[in-house]
Amino acid sequence: MQLDFTQDDEAFRVSAREWLLANAPRKRGPLDGQSARAFAQAWLSQCHKDGWSGIGWPKEYGGRGLPTEKIILWYEEYVRARAPSVLDCTFVSLNHAGPTLIACGTDEQKAYHLRRILVGDSIWCQGFSEPGSGSDLASLTTTGLVDGDHLVVNGQKIWTSYADIADFQELLIRTEPGSKRHKGLSWVICDMKSEGITVRPIKNMAGATHFAQVFYDNVRIPLSNVVGMLHDGWRVAMTTLGFERKTAAMGLQLELSIKIEDLIALAECPPGSAIGKQLAELRAEAAALRAMTYRTLFKDPVTASDGSLMRLYFAELSQRIHRAAMDILGADALTDSTWTHDYLESYSETIAGGTAEIQRNIIAERILGLPREQPA
């Protein structure tokens, strides 16, 4: 076990720090809509111009192919400089769609999309969840029927972040009629400007409208947009999990270390006080989360259940930190501010991407080997 950063690593850290402090926007960007898109695109484009977009992507696809050590240092510097949240509208394209195309896409798909993603020219959204299959993803029912060299898609998706401003969607649909559960699904690239798509934005409890319901009425998608094999979409969807669980989550996880420091600065904590005790514990947990994050980066392979452990710890810690902030804010907790907004947003942490209950099931069944839930 070692954490020895080389001189080269340290030089990289300094260059990242200097660039971020000089270039990262000083203010938080807009929360939703076209202005959020414009802000995120401008920031990604600026990153790309100076070589900071897709630093973990392979060089052959326009990334910098940096090793884990440097990616750690980049994200550490990123959060310390308070650069824009990694969870903006470029998150899906950079951390999910792009890596999936790299792993499973055709040459044509890669050639068309990857550069656009890195530069910030195309924004992606994810079309996995459906009204009837929130936590139970494999029960999805949106269908794509082969008609000549197209799929004809009907159905609906929900909780699709940034659907209203996205150019493309990674869409998981049932292409084999009558298939069950994980079988017979396909992962396709859906152009959000296609005819037959209706996007109904949904406001969340924090007052932001970054997710939406998407309806598909005979939407025609070329078969050439299928990524991986037809009917093999579940496997395609799973390929990026490792990437997602390592690199993509890192920015979010490390950001909590900054938030707890902000909170300690915000609060007045006489020694031995109740609030001081609470903040000390939260700080210790944030340190543990950081240690878990690093450990996971060097694990190979990172399984879905490793992801669940970390996801759950992160989610509940994030909620506790934000709740503590509300206590500390006093009457200011009633106003809209960065803290109160993030507090309300934190309620999604134990819901989105599989509820805390589902994560616990996964840990119990897949890591600990306890008996599977009995199907109905």
């Binding site: 299959s133 007052g207 200011d332 809209d336 907004h341 209950e357």
Partner: protein
């Protein structure tokens, strides 16, 4: 029977009547319109004069029935103006300003709650209020708002309606008397209890109908146990509230103690239940389309109206006669 913790016939009647009014005039669906509550129907019902003596226009009920009704107001997420109102009426009466007290009780003067924030005051849903009650720790202050310029302030999650006032306040009077603070806290915690119960009920109803993995999510033990926890905490809080309301009404020696306990417990239980309610609803619970988030925001509002923690400063009604050292 000299002791009985069950509701009597009068209490059941006032609760039924209030419930009917609230269901008709203040359904939760009204919240989608994002308009300030019109409290006229409640005022006409006598909700703000419940505990007033009959010769002063009251209905002759007591603080016990008033607290029960405030439980329903909490359930229906009635504007915190409905809390500011009875406190303003009592405060005005104590200050000898009976003309104000009567108008407030009749609902002809609009009163909002206010909380101090740095060098300003935040008015809650008080854009048109003519009076304000400042809830500031161990005191309440009645202020005139008519001439004060108000600045709109974005509220929590863009759904708490706030405005800010600054500068010298036109103070009508203040009160630091524990008995008024206890009355105020009793009504606030009654509303918190209403929210705790309503969010339990909403979660249970949803758990029965929402299906995942081919069965209702309420059949999963994790969801069941969430719901059971909500029930236990709400039941304990509800029993404590009844105990405290009786103690306040009868001016029992333990009234301050019971209210102090409520003050600690009520926001904790309400928060926990609302959080669980949102969690059980999943994605829809996090959206602004379900009502769960309104409960959450109202809990944040209500907790600001509670006076300070006095729990360890008061003698317990049930304390040992001898110290533990004497015994062993």
């Amino acid at each position: 029977m000299t002791c009985d913790m069950n509701y009597n016939e009068d209490q059941r009647q006032i609760l039924d009547a209030a419930n009917a009014l609230l269901n008709t005039s203040y359904p939760l669906s009204r919240l989608q319109e994002e308009k300030p509550d019109d409290l006229t129907a409640l005022a006409e019902f006598g909700a703000f004069a419940l505990a007033l003596p009959e010769e002063r226009g009251g209905t002759g009920f007591t603080i016990v029935e008033e607290a029960l009704v405030h439980g329903l107001l909490g359930r229906h997420l009635i504007s915190s103006r409905a809390l500011a109102n009875p406190i303003a009426a009592r405060l005005a009466a104590r200050l000898g300003r009976h003309e104000i007290a009567e108008q407030v009780a009749a609902g002809t003067l609009s009163v909002c709650a206010a909380v101090p924030a740095d060098d300003s005051l935040l008015l809650i849903d008080g854009a048109k209020a003519t009076l304000g009650v400042v809830f500031g720790g161990r005191q309440v202050i009645l202020i005139a708002l008519e001439e004060l310029p108000r600045e709109g302030v974005p509220g929590l999650g863009h759904s708490v309606v706030l405005s800010r006032v600054r500068g010298p306040l036109s103070m009508i009077g203040e009160c630091t008397d524990s008995s008024l603070l206890d009355t105020s806290d009793l009504l606030v915690t009654a509303q918190l209890l209403g929210i705790a119960e309503a969010s339990r009920d909403m979660a249970v109803s949803y758990a029965k109908v929402r299906e995942q993995f081919g069965r209702s999510i309420g059949s999963f033990q994790a969801i069941k146990h969430h719901c059971a926890n909500m029930s236990v905490d709400a039941e304990a809080l509800s029993a404590l509230l009844d105990m405290a309301a009786i103690a306040v009404r009868d001016e029992r020696g333990d009234a301050a103690f019971q209210v102090a306990a409520l003050r600690l417990l009520a926001p904790r239980v309400a928060f926990a239940n609302v959080r669980t309610c949102i969690q059980i609803h999943g994605g829809i619970g996090f959206s602004a389309e379900a009502d769960a988030h309104h409960y959450l925001k109202q809990v944040h509002v209500l907790r600001q109206l509670l006076s300070g923690n006095t729990m360890l400063d008061l003698p317990a009604p049930l304390a040992p006669y001898t110290s533990i050292n004497e015994r062993n």
